[in-house]
Structures are given as C-alpha cells and as structure tokens.
Symmetry: C2
Subunit: 242 residues, 2 copies
C-alpha cells in the first residue's frame, strides 16, 4: 500500500498552492516537453496514473480523447477533480498504483505525471500497464529524476562564493527516500534511470524517448529562477511503446 501523503491536511494545503495546482498544466515547466512526447490523443482511450486534480484528464478530453480514466489514491484530489467536470468522457476512480489491476488491451495511452516515484514496485505496475495497452499503445510519463531524489540531503550546497551544486550521494543505493516536502516523512522510491528503463524493456516495452528535463531558454528568460534547473535535472520524462 503506497503512502497516501496527499490526503494529509498539511500536504494537501501546501500542494494546492503550487503553480501546477493553481494554473494546471501550464503551471508545470515540464509540460510542453511531456506534451511533445504524446501521440495525437484524438479518439484514444487513456488512463492517467496519479491524475491528481484531473488537469491532464480534462486536457485530453478537450483534445478529443475517446474516454479518459483518472486514477489516484487521494480522495481529496479525486473530489476536486470530479467537481471540475465534465460529467461525461472522464471517469475518476480511487486506486493504489502498487496494487493496480487494469483490464487487458483496454487503453491506447497510459500517462503519468510525477506519480511513479511514489510506487515501490514499478515492475508490477509496468507489467499491469503493458497488458492494459493495445498493441502499439503508448506509455508516457514523468517521474522525479534520480539525481534529484538520491541524496541524503536533497538540497543545494552553496559555497562561499554563492556557487550552487547538488550533493549527490547514494545514487546507486536504490530504495525508499524519506524527505520533508510540504509535510514531514514523505516516502519516495529511488531507482536509477537504468533500472527504470530496463524494467520497461523487460516488461516488453520499446523505449522511444528519454528526456532529462531542461527548461528552454525562453522559459528561463520568462522565469529567471528556472536557470538553476540547468545545474541538475529535477524530472525524468520517458515515452515507451507496447
């Protein structure tokens, strides 16, 4: 059973104030890069693993997806997603990605934004997703980058001259990482890029694109604070195909 941190009041309150929660997809710097990795969603049957407030589900519905299933562990997020509508074309269900079952060949696209790092057993989940996709179906996801997640102290080291570095350690020691982000004791699961990709390949997926997200020059010009993201990647974006 995955940790249901999003339903803790302190976490939920903090998460609700993030740019990506208030502004939706356009509040997430990596969304244009992730969107560019998606197939044309027109007419597709889509499952969103960790749908949160449902921003992606509504976007896909608006783009002409055939139907969209949004899954999340958080009752609070699902309630807000359902309240945002629309009443048809999108279904929201509560699901634990560590225990998920999905019907065979029932989706053309599986999507997941920043949820897989909460999953302990991705081999099981990738297998579930693979059999749930139609032949040729797409699996496109973002997850926290292992460089970002690995360290004992996942924060900037700043030297006497103000130079920022990211103090990587334990990169090759996979397993849980507990940090305080929005609330105390948030549990994530550290895996190398190699493990993520080899698990996909071992499950039968073909790797199509791997992106260690870098803000564009235009994004940095518009939001200078993003420049520090060039120092170390925060997000890993992957597209794979059944």
């Amino acid at each position: 059973m995955a940790q249901n941190i999003y339903d803790q009041p302190e976490f939920f309150a903090g998460y609700s104030q993030l740019g990506r929660s208030v502004e939706g997809l356009d509040g997430a710097a990596e969304w244009p890069a992730l969107r560019a990795m998606l197939p044309d969603v027109t007419g597709l049957r889509i499952v969103d693993l960790g749908c949160g407030f449902g921003w992606f589900c509504r976007w896909a519905h608006g783009q002409g997806a055939s139907n969209v299933l949004g899954l999340d562990l958080s009752e609070k997020m699902l309630a807000r997603a359902r309240a945002a509508g629309p009443d048809t074309g999108i279904t929201y269900e509560r699901a634990d990605l560590d225990q998920l079952s999905l019907p065979r060949a029932s989706f053309d696209l599986a999507y997941s934004s920043l949820a897989l790092h909460y999953v302990a057993d991705v081999e099981r989940l990738f297998g579930t997703v693979h059999q749930a996709l139609s032949p040729g179906g797409h699996f496109v996801f973002s997850t926290e980058h292992p460089i970002y997640m690995a360290p004992t102290s996942p924060g900037w080291s700043i030297d006497g001259e103000g130079k920022k570095t990211w103090p990587v350690d334990r990169y090759l020691v996979e397993g849980p990482r507990t940090t305080d982000w929005l609330a105390k004791g948030v549990v994530k699961h550290h895996r190398t890029i190699g493990t993520t990709l080899n698990t996909l390949i071992g499950t039968g997926f073909t790797i199509e694109h791997v992106e260690e997200f870098r803000p564009t020059d235009a994004q940095i010009a518009a939001t200078p604070g993003l420049a520090e993201e060039l120092e170390r990647p925060m997000f890993l974006l992957v597209s794979a195909r059944r």
Copy 2:
C-alpha cells in the same frame, strides 16, 4: 579531429600504469557487467571503437570471433596492441572516431570501452556504426557517466564529518569538459543519458539495456575502496541493437 591525448607522454605513462592497462579486462571493475551485455561472440565480425592496448580484441579473438578490427587514435597504444599479437584474426588501424567511415553491413558487433566521451559528434558516429552493422547486429559500449563528467569540479566534496558527496552542476549544459586527469587539459564531451539514448534511437537502434555501473557486493568486499562508487556512478553501459 578528436584530441589525441593518449599519445602525450605524460598521459600515456600514467595510463599505462592503471589497473586496466596492466591487468587488462580483469583490471576493470565494470568489465563483468559489460561482458554480460555482450552476445556470444563466437563467429562474429567485431569492430572495437577505441581499442587501446587491444585487450578486448584479444579476448574476443580468444572466444572465437570470426575477425576483429581494433581502431584507435593513439599510435602508441596501437603499437603495443600489435606487439601483443596474435598475427592473424585481429587487425589494428588508426582511426579518429569523429571522422570514421566503415563499410556497410560488415560487422555483427560494435564494441567500445570508455572512448565515446572523447567523441564530439556521436550522432555522426552512431550513424556510421548503425550502417556498418548487419541487421540484428549489436552495439555495446561503456562511456563515462554524465553525473561523473558534468561538474565544474569533478571530485568529492567532503564535509567536516568526512561525508563524501559528488557536487553536480551543469548537468543540463552539454558540451566539452576540460579536466586534468593524468595530463592537463583532457577534453571530454558531456551529454545527458537522454541525449545518448535518443541519438541511438534516432539513428535506428533499439535500446536493449542501460546500466549505471554499480560494483557488486563481492567486488566491494574484495576491494573496499570501491564502496565509494555507490555514491555516484562513474560508468554508463549501454547495449543497443540494429
């Protein structure tokens, strides 16, 4: 034209004393992991990109490879490789991997150990390798891991309690990195894992395995100094298939 650092006397003298130069493949901690990614080489036509002293060429020849072409930019390394024999089954040629041409469909396996990080234009090289492989042919290589190569100061940061971290910066700023290793001004080319894999995919390769090398527990027990390699990866190992 790639930098021919290996032929500089200071570099060559230092490199010749490394474990992997004296002991050969068994002196390289990552060799068992890389070997496990190779197909059975019996009867294969093999090209080794950056063959150095020819240790892999001789190993492959000994395993029954049909014929082996070893390529390197360093005259000194090729001279020593040729002197080690045997006189048939292995051919050594001088080549700059940034300007390489290879005949079409002439090899079943392309191998490269720790040479690609000296190559500025891997897109060109991967294209050359792809067309030189027979359909279904394998490309297996190791390269310096981008976490290792990225930093302005690629060395351990050690805090007051002796805790080691690897100070990552400039990870998403690809391009040359100049360091002093065995000699001053060694030029390597930093690329993210994503760029390396996407370039392979774009060239027509299918990714088969991606490994961020971690010494085994047995290796660490035998050589306790290897334990620090768990903190950050030094080598990236990839196998791909035409």
